[in-house]
Symmetry: C2
């Protein structure tokens, strides 16, 4: 089919197909949409993509997106310095911030362990987390006062990563916790899968 379309359109289809969740058919449809869009919109998309990474930095401490050396959270002395929430991605930081319930700091792994995709501990910011904690401990923070909340997704990869981090950080003497798993708000018990229900039972809390 490809030989019927001009090269410039083929290129767009090809680039779109490389994006996650976009198959060849969707890529074709997107290219056709752009073809019928005003030049202005096409240029806006192109320049937005081209300029995305310009001037973008990551926080030296937690690897969140940042404007300077430190991100807004790490630079804020009012946040609890001994409480670190470990997340997979920048979007997770945003999701947690929206709750308004977390007052500690973050650590963005930028990925999860996934041997199938060739992602090992070196590809994510796991070692950086360890040295960050070690630095804090040698800087006078007591291990007993620290808590590391592992908030990776409750997926196979997320759980594997959580286990790996626990093994990595436990020897430092800090408290390592896993974010609560169970029934989501508004969820239906008889529609929940076995894994979710098992975890909901294991994660039960006593009324006080």
């Amino acid at each position: 089919m490809t030989s019927f379309l001009p090269d410039s359109i083929e290129k767009v289809i090809d680039e779109f197909s490389r994006l996650p969740g976009i198959g060849p058919k969707s890529a074709q449809r997107l290219a056709m949409h752009l073809l019928h869009s005003p030049e202005m919109r096409v240029d806006a998309l192109a320049s937005a993509v081209a300029g995305m990474k310009k001037g973008l930095r990551f926080c030296e401490k937690c690897f969140n997106i940042s404007n300077g050396e430190l991100c807004n959270f790490c630079a804020d002395p009012l946040r609890q310095q001994e409480l670190i929430c470990v997340v997979e991605d920048i979007l997770d930081v945003i999701a947690l911030e929206r709750t308004g319930q977390f007052k500690g700091l973050y650590h963005v792994l930028h990925g999860v362990l996934s041997p199938v995709d060739g992602i090992g501990p070196e590809q994510i910011k796991a070692g950086d987390l360890k040295s960050r904690i070690e630095e804090m401990l040698s800087g006078g923070v007591t291990a007993a006062s620290m808590e590391i909340i592992v908030a990776t997704n409750p997926s196979l990869e997320g759980e594997t990563t959580a286990l790996y981090l626990t093994k990595l950080l436990k020897p430092l003497g800090v408290r390592v916790t896993r974010i609560g798993r169970g029934l989501p708000a508004g969820g239906d018990l008889d529609y929940a899968d076995e894994v979710t229900l098992t975890r909901a039972l294991q994660g039960r809390l006593e009324y006080i």
Copy 2:
């Protein structure tokens, strides 16, 4: 949520969300993917989009994509000149060419009638089709030798457009046909909806 992300990423998310079939969540995911992609891939996408419309022309006769004044089909004297297949989009031309069964010419409407979206006869290449046929008739082609196959999609808009075209072209004396509708290959009769089945009955052919 938007206030937590840098402007450059917001822009990409915003532009992606404007594309059909991409919601705000998918747009976020795509932006995150690009953020973790090598600079090279991001630039490739940006320049592919930016360069897509450069040097792109439409055939003066059938409005298919073209390298010169006429597209490959219209410039080919071996194609049946009196047989014109009317399609919605360029992708439909490709789909029909893949069958290898059609040896006539095309006419690309670049859309279908859709009052809801504000698309009337002036927004599609319907008038151009009429004048194209009129020109052929005044050029010596007899109306009886011509056939216009309306191959718009069997959707509400496609059928409306097909009806409109029939009314537009019938007065010229040419034969106007509609592409066959019925059960798709590999389809299951008891899974077919009523409209499809009705059309399949209406479109039945006698064994010869």
